[in-house]
Symmetry: D2
Subunit: 161 residues, 4 copies
């Protein structure tokens, strides 16, 4: 039972540019994280884009949905910025109905010592394996169905609606 | 849906004693890990023992089974040393049949930078929420039923049998 | 032989704001770093300002010089952003001639796993104890006199001129 | 002005063996630490032995002294276990009188998140550059002459005598 992981960027993968003092995207840290987690799952990883989810367009979401549809795997994880994660989840719920898709991300870049990224990745991989067909968000240790969740931006947490 | 976490020790919680140069147990790092993972799950955590799983006796396993049985929660995570994790899983499968129990641990102490602990905790919490009644081991990103897994000590990985 | 540490901000102390996704200043990490380094030096730490060194004004530099002059200690460390560290060093060389003053900072925030901050702090504390009166920059494992150093912004390193 | 670094093992370089659950020596972490510290010093690094300093024999100390004497560099750092660091320092003070030699180490392995190793390395490199001929121990942010220091094993700190 292989799982596909589609990388789209987000806080998860942000790094610190020591020449400019700004956060930026280089490569995904996913392989490094999976090594640390000693994952022995059969995974198919592809980086589709590397963007801040605030910059994600309808066109980008279509690209993600196409990648989900054309994937041979039925179980898919999408790493994604948290700001518009719920928007993409709803889009996929509409356009990609026959797979188990779990979106996850991080509140703090993985390269920061205090990141929630590794925890979220572990939970997303687990949820993907066991949840039935549908689109979900895995954050804060929980899972939410795509149309029953919002990000509470005041406290930086996902909550059921 | 509250989850109970029973701490028994294991590599997970080992620390370095800088006076003696030896690894030892002090307190569990579970709360610190859950904070890092920004977990918002309703959890009930109790430290039952703090031992190396090679030192775990039949009496200790009975104590764990009793804690599972008497817990008001139906979903339980047990943090446990990896060396005899399968032994305890089998014991619980026999003595505690009506709950979803997930055992997890770490190959490297959480306090080491390279620990798989946070990843495993994330996956164990996810599996516990979704898997049906039964006893499972969550390691290497996977879950295994208690009677269908062994630890391959040559490579330090859990594998299906 | 007490050492005074004057905190002015800089990359050293930047944190990630998980609500806005931006880097910002909260409190200095100096105490945490000194605890990690198991420092047993007699230190007097004060936070004078918490700013990016690109925003530092002549007025701010005067404030730093006054703090150096009025300090009862003869040995002083200043944590400072790297972008204008050489400007402040020259200013202090002119206005604060009778003490051993060492400026240091970091190319990567301390809270990032890959930070040079702890290494630089260790070297700055050592240089301060042993170097004669003068103003110095301690970066990249080296020390430079205030008027004989520039930051090579292409590669992010300090070099002798 | 090149500095020689002689690696002898000690807590500094201990790693966790995830198959046996024991601490052991593999390779030195010195290169990784110097990269993190963005050191641009001209260094000559050689691993002479990889042992716990409690296992260090008179023969081993002779080997270290010979390496110091035969080194073309006048400034030398020795990474060393803390338990018998003062013994080796005294030995070198007697047998290697014409160089600036600084011994340092760590109370916690570098691979542990909470290690003092990077701080100590930064301070040792600084002290070596500036201190006059002699043998010193650099720990806890301080430097001590070889014959004026002891390790207080009750609290795990070096102190002047």
């Amino acid at each position: 039972m292989a799982i596909k992981i589609i990388v789209t960027g987000g806080t998860f993968d942000k790094e610190y540019n020591e020449l400019t003092g700004e956060l930026f995207f280089k490569d995904t840290h996913l392989h490094e994280m999976l090594t640390k987690g000693r994952s022995k799952l059969e995974l198919e990883i592809s980086t589709l884009m590397m963007i801040d989810s605030l910059d994600m367009t309808e066109q980008d979401r279509k690209k993600i949905a196409d990648a989900c549809t054309s994937a041979k795997e039925d179980k898919i994880i999408i790493t994604h910025g948290t700001d518009t994660m719920t928007v993409t989840a709803l889009y996929l719920q509409k356009h990609c109905p026959n797979k188990t898709i779990v979106l996850t991300g991080a509140m703090i870049p993985y390269k920061f010592g205090s990141s929630d990224g590794l925890f979220n990745l572990g939970s997303a991989l687990a949820f993907t394996q066991v949840l039935p067909t549908g689109v979900y968000i895995a954050m804060n240790g929980k899972y939410f169905e795509a149309d029953k969740v919002r990000k509470n931006t005041d406290i930086g947490e996902f909550e059921a609606i």
